[in-house]
């Protein structure tokens, strides 16, 4: 499920949503207040209503809230009930490629074979991509951890 165009959840609403996904069971405003470290049940209720209006959660027969379906967030990927920044995985993918490229360069250097400038350039681009994805991914991860209850 994706959010309606132009809509996005952030801050406390995002925190409440992550809590509900992680709990994977119906929760009332008091549970949410405790789990997401909010100041009062009314604050929790306001954010739950917002999420309900966006169609991300729904009330069960007991009046408690459950997640309807996990929505996608730009730059993140769900692994089980945990949201992870995609860029970290991109970074590790390029790190794998970089390992191979560096191995090839090293082997050629040891064997005193020619090392083409294209290979050096490719290795540099792969290394730079890995580093940039890692930096951006780390920023997103820190933001996510700050939001995570």
């Amino acid at each position: 499920m994706t959010l309606p165009s132009g809509e996005e959840i952030e801050g406390t609403t995002f925190k409440v949503y992550l809590y509900l996904v992680k709990e994977a069971k119906p929760a009332g405003p008091r549970d949410v207040m405790r789990g997401a470290n909010l100041s009062s049940p009314s604050v929790a209720y306001r954010h739950l209503q917002k999420l309900e209006s966006l169609g991300l959660i729904q009330k069960d027969i007991n009046g408690e809230y459950v997640v309807k379906e996990k929505t996608t967030f730009k730059g993140y990927i769900w692994i089980g009930r945990n949201l992870m920044p995609r860029l970290v995985f991109y970074s590790f993918f390029f790190l794998g490629l970089l390992t191979i490229e560096l191995s090839v360069v090293t082997l050629r250097f040891i064997a005193r074979e020619s090392i083409e400038p294209e290979l050096v350039f490719l290795t540099f681009v792969t290394g730079a991509s890995s580093a940039l994805f890692m930096i951006e991914g780390a920023v997103l991860l820190r933001r996510l951890r700050a939001s995570n209850p």
Partner: protein, 241 residues
């Protein structure tokens, strides 16, 4: 969260390694390098009849030469051999220095015999040196099908040219008994693995014709002759006239 993040990261890393692996496999040599052997089977040296009146020549003592190498791929892999090296001298010998380099202080003069000595490139390389050189030639050709060797096949390659020759070199030729050296190099076809073929030194006995031409022939029978292609390297044996 951390466990899943680490697991996901390792999975992405493994995916990157797996996708890049073909590049690595292509660059890593597994097992023994393929063997290739090149031996001089025909050599011709002809003293050119340049008179003292010919201008443009520093030294009038010039020989034309033709070496025919029988290059054999001893492996089960297709190879490209594109680098050829031959030389002829009164004396050529391997250096047994442990570091593989020729020791200049060692005497080069050795007793001629018609033996063939073969060395393959090892950890310490192969060292050799010569004295009273007659001619020395190395050639690297661009890669192409002309220098493609199928597994376990032989092909003839010619190296021709002209060179000035010193008095000592000419003296060695006239003495009939000289040494010749050959070595070829290349790589595995469609691979990056470099190969250094056998280093071969052999003592040969020349047949002298009219004091001006010197021939070593282990290739042609009485009714056969050499046909050299116009690029100067391809050789075929033609029977009859």
């Amino acid at each position: 969260m951390n466990t899943r993040l680490v697991a996901g990261s390792l999975l992405a890393l493994a995916l990157g390694v797996a996708i890049g692996m073909p590049i690595l496999v292509q660059n890593v040599s597994l097992g023994e390098p393929p063997k290739v052997y090149a031996e001089i089977v025909y050599a011709y040296f002809g003293l050119q009849p340049f008179s003292e009146n010919v201008s443009g020549l520093y030294r009038k003592q010039v020989i034309s030469y033709l070496f025919v190498l029988n290059v054999t791929n001893l492996s089960n892999q297709p190879l490209i051999v594109n680098s050829f090296e031959v030389s002829a001298a009164e004396s050529i010998r391997f250096s047994d220095a442990s570091d593989g380099h020729f020791n200049a202080t060692e005497p080069l003069d050795i007793v001629w015999d018609n033996a063939t000595q073969v060395r393959y490139m090892g950890k310490n390389g192969v060292g050799y040196g010569s004295s009273n050189g007659i001619v020395s030639r190395s050639e690297s050709f661009p890669e192409g099908n002309a220098y493609y060797w199928s597994p376990n096949t032989s092909k003839l390659v010619a190296l021709t040219g002209m060179a000035e020759i010193s008095d000592l070199g000419l003296h060695a030729l006239r003495a009939e008994k000289i040494f010749v050296f050959s070595h070829v190099a290349g790589k595995v076809y469609e691979g990056r693995l470099s190969i250094s073929g056998a280093f071969v030194i052999k003592g040969i006995k020349l047949e002298i014709i009219k004091e001006r031409e010197f021939i070593y022939n282990k290739l042609l029978k009485a009714n056969q002759s050499l046909h050299i292609t116009n690029d100067g390297t391809g050789v075929t044996i033609v029977s009859g006239n």
